[in-house]
Amino acid sequence: MGKKVIMALAGLFWFLFLLAHLLGNLTIFAGPDALNGYAHKLEGLKALVIAAELFLALALIFHAMYGIIVWWEKWQARPQKYAMYRSKGKPSYQTTSSRTMLYTGIVIFIFVVIHLLNFKFGRFETTTINGQEVRDLFVLVKEVFHQPGYLIFYEVVMILLGFHLRHAFWSAFQSLGWGNQKYTPMLYKLGVLLAIIIAAGFFTIPIYVYLKY
């Protein structure tokens, strides 16, 4: 059960990261210079960024590892499957989201790797803002999102991310032992709302870039 606690903490940390990442990315709506300027400011906080990156990498490893263990135990725990199985509905929280956490998780993991290769470790170009030379991330963003194949892949993953987060949020609190009859239904609703906000936020950016630039 200690595993679930670590899994929940790691997941919540990624959840916070996603919120911060989304807020940062939204600067793109203010134009290329806003995005590049924001990225440059982030580069200035080098120590903090590296610490966060290390922590995220560690969290991802543990989160994935325990996710796979739970999935493996589940396969062991019911060798003979049901010929007929249905969810009874409320108050069950069993959904497509909850049943596909491992699969959406794998897709998100692959996406994270590709995403890092594309942007963080992508081509380094520079531009000038107010006479200062900074990395031109925008040109890369524009180029990447104009590849229809990648655009579709990105958008599909964002939808799957939404599904993953829908079960993730309340589940993390439940795993930490913070659920009760009063707050759990509220946490569940808040989780659904946040999942929609995050997924929709990340979803709109590529379309905006594709259409506008």
Binding site: M1, G2, K3, K4, V5, I69, V70, E73, K74, Q76, A77, R78, P79, Q80, K81, Y82, A83, M84, Y85, R86, S87, K88, G89, K90, P91, S92, Y93, Q94, S98, R99, M101, H167, W170, S171, Q174, S175, L176, G177, W178, G179, N180, Q181, T184
Partner: protein
């Protein structure tokens, strides 16, 4: 829903013993009254099978009033059937309709091996209870009643958890075959009461350890257990078990 007697097709899991393979057999029962309980309907089937000289279907049952936790069955894909907060014995045939096919399977989990047909061995629960689902009291002269004040709120909360009849539907419904709802209810009931305090932390560690050793799956918070529980035991108990576990681990 029906008020006329029904003819039903039953797809029932038959298995000779724990080591046999098992499979579905199809039976037809006629003249089933909507006022019968599900188990009475199976009694009718078994009477017919006995008259035909065939082996009756083995299924667990005892009190037939929803308090003993002995009846089980997965009925059309849901443990204890479609109705909320009822055990199989309290499920009435009026919730089915004439001509319906009903699939009946045993609870399925590695920790609940099939003994025969629809009967499974749920002694894994007994072994979990033996690890800490009790309190220790000195015998001898009984102390005065009301010696230990317990608030109404604490008594109610303890009773809500203690309502668990240990039927195992939570395990059967769980996509992971986890026993977390049962174990958490049995741990929770003592956390509210002064009598549960001396063994509080040892209890959670030992019962959870036994739960894992029995081969139940981990909990992924699907919450299906609460939906099928004939007593409506809340998954808030599972959250409480985790709090207790973390507290006990840090001591």
């Amino acid at each position: 829903m029906s008020d006329k007697n029904m003819t039903l097709t039953l797809r029932i899991w038959r298995q000779k013993d724990a080591n046999s393979k098992g499979g579905f057999e199809t039976y037809t029962v006629t003249d089933i009254s909507p006022d019968m309980s599900f188990l009475e309907m199976l009694d009718v089937l078994n009477d017919n099978l006995t008259k035909e000289g065939k082996e009756p279907v083995e299924f667990d049952n005892d009190c037939r009033e929803g308090i003993c936790g002995m009846c089980s069955l997965v009925i059309n894909g849901i443990p204890h059937g479609d109705q909320h907060r009822t055990a199989t014995c309290q499920l009435h045939m009026r919730h089915f309709h004439d001509g319906q096919t009903i699939t009946i399977e045993p609870f399925r989990a590695k920790a609940f091996p099939v003994v025969k047909d629809l009967v499974v061995d749920r002694s894994a629960f007994d072994r979990i209870i033996a690890k800490g689902g009790y309190i220790s009291v000195n015998t001898g002269s009984a102390q005065d009643a009301n010696n230990i004040p317990i608030s109404k709120e604490a008594a109610d909360a303890a009773m809500d958890s203690a309502e668990c009849i240990g039927c195992g539907a939570c395990v059967a419904a769980c996509p992971n075959a986890s026993a977390s709802l049962f174990v958490s209810a049995k741990i929770s009931q003592y956390t509210f009461l002064p009598q549960g305090q001396p063994e509080r932390y040892r209890r959670v560690l030992r019962m959870v350890e036994q739960m894992d050793a029995e081969g139940f799956g981990g909990c992924s918070n699907h919450g299906e257990c609460e939906a099928v529980c004939p007593k409506g035991i809340s998954i808030a108990n599972i959250a409480r078990m985790r709090r207790e576990y973390v507290k006990a681990s840090l001591r």
